[in-house]
Every structure is written in structure tokens, then in C-alpha cells.
Symmetry: C2
Subunit: 314 residues, 2 copies
């Protein structure tokens, strides 16, 4: 069996149906796919159906694809059933390397040889996870954020034995399935978003451990502060605006020395000319035709929309 057109896929396998796998199932159902799910855990089917029932009103409000229905979920009796006659398989088993290795080996053995298999792993590299797969060339990481049926991001990257065309296929498939894809060229522990999130999380844990801040203060400092901005501009473009009309270049001049300050337990890299230029050029590329004033106006408009939406949905 050859690999189908990624845009023509209609039936996907979901292996592991906890919070993440169940969220993937809800996402694929809402996008109009048939979903065959499998999880060996006791009561897994009930939990999965409860999760999908809980998510469905949100998905209806966002807009279901034509023909999308909860009834298009099949809970399989075996791993094999979830891995055959499907165009794509999303693995979301427990986050332990030995379990991932075994599960991917079993999926690989059960699946049609061309079917692309993606792992939801939060941070393992595919090179180590695909170790025991006979057809490792079609295994990729497809790392989502919780809940996968709402948060658009998926990070896609292969391992040493993964073929580039499998990564291409997964990116095209996810894109068609309504995800926002970041394709990484090289393996990196935690990928990109989790590294950033983990840096925040560890600094937060340090502060709580040291009695410097409470859980409530930490969460409020984000939702009432920088978290409001991060829904609309990432950390780099945010700081591009913090530099005023001089943008990122001025910001690095002005706040660059704070990289030496003990503002987090994470030591900063040396702010070399090369790093500085990459940051400035990256921000200018993102900004495109938009001046700083345009970006400020856009940020303000979106911030207000987000604050009002947050308030209205309370």
C-alpha cells in the first residue's frame, strides 16, 4: 500500500487516549475524520468519550468540518485494529522512553508499511524512540499542546532514521487537519515551545521552593502581565516593541546589560554581534512592512480584544 495524498486522508488511528491522545481524537473528529482509538487502560473508552463530550461544545462553537460527528469514533479492541486501514497514526502513550520505544515498535509492526506514525512525546527525540522500529523511516514527532483540539501548534521533527518525505507528509497532513505546524530541521530535547515553557516552569518551581513567590502570585504575574501579550506576539516581537521606535536594536542596547543580572537562575548567552544581528533581522523579517507604530497599534487593538473576550467569557 502506498502513502495516500495527505489531503485525502479520511481515517486516522489514535493510540493512547489520555488527556493528549483524547484531545487529538476530539480534534480529528471535529475536522471530519474517522477516528479509530485504542488504549489498553481500564475504563479508557469511557474516559475518552467523556473527554470528547466535554470538548464538543467548544468544537461546535469553533465550527465543525462538514460531516464531522462524534459517532465517527471507533474504540478498537486491539492495537492492531487502530493501526490498520488508517492513513495516519498519532501515538500518545505514557511519557517514558522505554514505553515509547516498545509502543512504537508494536505500532510499527502492526501498521501498513507506508503509514506515517507520529508521536506526541513532550520531549524525547525520535532517534531514541524509533530504535526498535523495523520501518523507522516513517516515524516522526508530532508534538501538540494541550488541548490539541484548541491550541493550534504542532512541532514536527524526524529522527536519524526518518525519511524527509515522511516529515513532509506529516507537515502537509497536519496543516490540512487545521494545525499550525513548525517544522524543525534538527532534534532538540523538548523541541522549541516546551523549552521555553520549561524555562518558565523551572524558574517558577525555584521561586516556590525558595519561598520567594506563591503559586497564586506566579500565575497572576503571567495572566495579568506578559501572558496577555504572548497570545498575540511572541517574546521576540514583544521586545521589538519594548525598544520604542528603535525596535529590537535599541532594546538590546538598553536592556542588554540586564542579561548579566540575576533576574532568573538561567544564565544568558553572550550577546555577540552575531546574536544581536540575528535577533534584529528576525524581528525585522517578522515585522515586514509594519512600522513600530503599526505594530504598537496592532498590539493594542488585539490586547483590548483579548482582554474583553477574556472578561466576557468569565
Amino acid at each position: 500500500m502506498s502513502r495516500p495524498d495527505p489531503k485525502a486522508a479520511t481515517r486516522v488511528g489514535v493510540v493512547g487516549t489520555g488527556v493528549i491522545g483524547g484531545g487529538w481524537a476530539a480534534h480529528f473528529l471535529a475536522k471530519g475524520y474517522d477516528v479509530v482509538a485504542y488504549d489498553p487502560g481500564q475504563g479508557a473508552e469511557d474516559r475518552l468519550r467523556r473527554l470528547i463530550d466535554g470538548a464538543w461544545p467548544a468544537l461546535e462553537e469553533l465550527g465543525l468540518a462538514p460531516g464531522a460527528a462524534k459517532t465517527r469514533l471507533t474504540f478498537a479492541d486491539s492495537l492492531e485494529e487502530a493501526c490498520t486501514d488508517v492513513a495516519f497514526i498519532q501515538e500518545s502513550g505514557p511519557e517514558r522512553l522505554d514505553l515509547k520505544q516498545r509502543l512504537l515498535k508494536d505500532i510499527d509492526a502492526a501498521a501498513d508499511p507506508e503509514t506515517v506514525i507520529a508521536s506526541s512525546t513532550s520531549g524525547y527525540g525520535m532517534t531514541e524512540m524509533q530504535r526498535d522500529c523495523a520501518r523507522a523511516e516513517r516515524t516522526v514527532v508530532g508534538h501538540p499542546f494541550n488541548p490539541p483540539y484548541l491550541v493550534p501548534l504542532v512541532e514536527v521533527v524526524g529522527g536519524e532514521r526518518t525519511a524527509a518525505d515522511a516529515v513532509d507528509w506529516a507537515c502537509d497532513f497536519y496543516d490540512h487537519a487545521g494545525k499550525s505546524v513548525i517544522r524543525m530541521d534538527a532534534e532538540l530535547p523538548g523541541f522549541i515551545a516546551n523549552r521555553l515553557q520549561e524555562a518558565i516552569w523551572r524558574e517558577a518551581l525555584h521561586m516556590v521552593a525558595a519561598g520567594e513567590a506563591t503559586v497564586d502570585q506566579i500565575d497572576r504575574s503571567i495572566t495579568e502581565g506578559p501572558g496577555l501579550r504572548w497570545a498575540l506576539m511572541g517574546p521576540c516581537l514583544t521586545f521589538h516593541l519594548a525598544g520604542g521606535e528603535g525596535g529590537m536594536a535599541h532594546m538590546l542596547d538598553h536592556f542588554g546589560p540586564s542579561l548579566k543580572s540575576p533576574w532568573t537562575r538561567l544564565i544568558a548567552p553572550e550577546l555577540t554581534q552575531e546574536l544581536r544581528d540575528r535577533m534584529v533581522e528576525g524581528c525585522e523579517t517578522q515585522a515586514g512592512e509594519r512600522s513600530i507604530a503599526d505594530l504598537v497599534a496592532e498590539r493594542d487593538r488585539k490586547l483590548i480584544a483579548i482582554m474583553k473576550a477574556r472578561e466576557a467569557a468569565s
Copy 2:
């Protein structure tokens, strides 16, 4: 002159009118205060008025306080003018310790002896900044986020010589002036939100420096991923939900080992029983009566509202 009721203040001094100071001026004007601003920089008045003109449509949309008007801005000819006959002074000078020390000394000398003086510093402690102040007991940190006229957070903390009643007064004043206040009990470099933000920023710089990710990938990984959630739930409550029905306790069991993973260059603290209990209790306190299912429904509702608002404002 005695200190006025923080709720009865009508006139504030703003010293330093760059991006942050100018943003404060816009905020106070929109909240119906008279603002006396001073900045010695060439062309500062023009830049300030341009900044306020740029921000005003946003502030009108959010809703101006009765009587609020851009015409209630006075640009002072001297530092003294901005520091007298005002109920409160917000300092937002350049972020260099020696300049902060000199500026606060000058403001302290010019201001009525009871007037509370707050510094917008991004991370210096008030103990070091207030070194040369004769009346240091009324100097506090009031650290905002950009833009101060939209992002609600202000972190308030005193230095060694600051009197508790000045910190109280500043918290009450900011609260009345429409800010969301975090009162810190102890000085901490970078306060809380900047430590979290700086951890993300430094990890981002490392990735760019090492060629592991581009500026565009970093920003998209946030705005399409965890950044969407952080506008509505902080990192702790977010992870409380990632644990499924078991909440933070299950999350720490499940993902705790990842604290040892090289997912960021920041080494995590030891996950002791005490830290674990603090995290679990902190999340349970925040959750209050809301079950995990309630929180999931609330998160989904707000995420959808935010995504729709972001889209509509594009």
C-alpha cells in the same frame, strides 16, 4: 503636608517619558488624573504627545474615566515642577543603577516629604536605588508591563528603608488607578513576572545563538502554543489541567521526571515533598470550588473567545 487618601489623589507626576513613562502618563490620563510629566531629553514632549495620541483610541475603546482628557497633561519645564503639588510620582528613567540612584535622590529632594515615589525599574531592588534618598521611607518599586496603559500588572515592593505604610499606600493607589497589584514581601531581582519572562527570553536567545531555532519559530511556538493559554491561566494552573482529573499531583508524578531532562538550559530544583505539596495546595487554592472538569470547560471557553478575538482584530 500629610499623605492624601490614595483614593482621593487627582494629580500625579511622571518623571521620564520614554516607552514606559509615556505609557504610565497615558494610563493616568485615561483614568482621569491630571498628569505633570518631565523628561530632559531633546524632543521628549513631542514624543510623549505622539505616544499618547497613539494610545488614545485604544483607551477610548476600553472606556475613559469621567473627565479624562489628553489636555490634562502638562509637560513640566523642570524636575521640580513634576514633583510638587502631586499626590504620587512615577519614575521611569533609564535602566541604569547609577542613573536611578541620582534621579531618585533628585526627586526625593524636590518632592513634598510625604509623597510616595515609585520606580518603574525592571529589576533593581529599592534598597540599592534609594541609597542616596533623604526620605527613603516613601520610595517603592512599582514595576509595570508594557504598555502600562493596557497590561494591568504592577509589582510593588519596598527596600530596606521603605516604610510598610508607603507600600500599603502605593498598593491602594494603584488598585484605585485600575492596576492589578502584586505586593511582594521581599526584594527579589527582577521581581516575579520578569524572572519568568527573562527565563523564556534567555532560553530563546540561547536557541538563536546556537542555531537551534529562528526568531520566527520561537515567536510562533508561543503565540500558536502555550502563549494562547497564558492569557487566561498561569503556568501552574495550566499544568494543573495537564494532569487530567488528578490535577497537579498527577502532573508532577507523570512529568516530574522531565525536570531532569535537558529541555531547557535552566536546571530544575529538586522536587521535594514540600515543593510538591506547595504546588498542589497552591493550585487547589486557585481552583477553589471549581473541579478539573469546570476548569477545562472554562479554559476552553476562554481560549475560543481569545482565538476569535485575535482573529477578528487582525
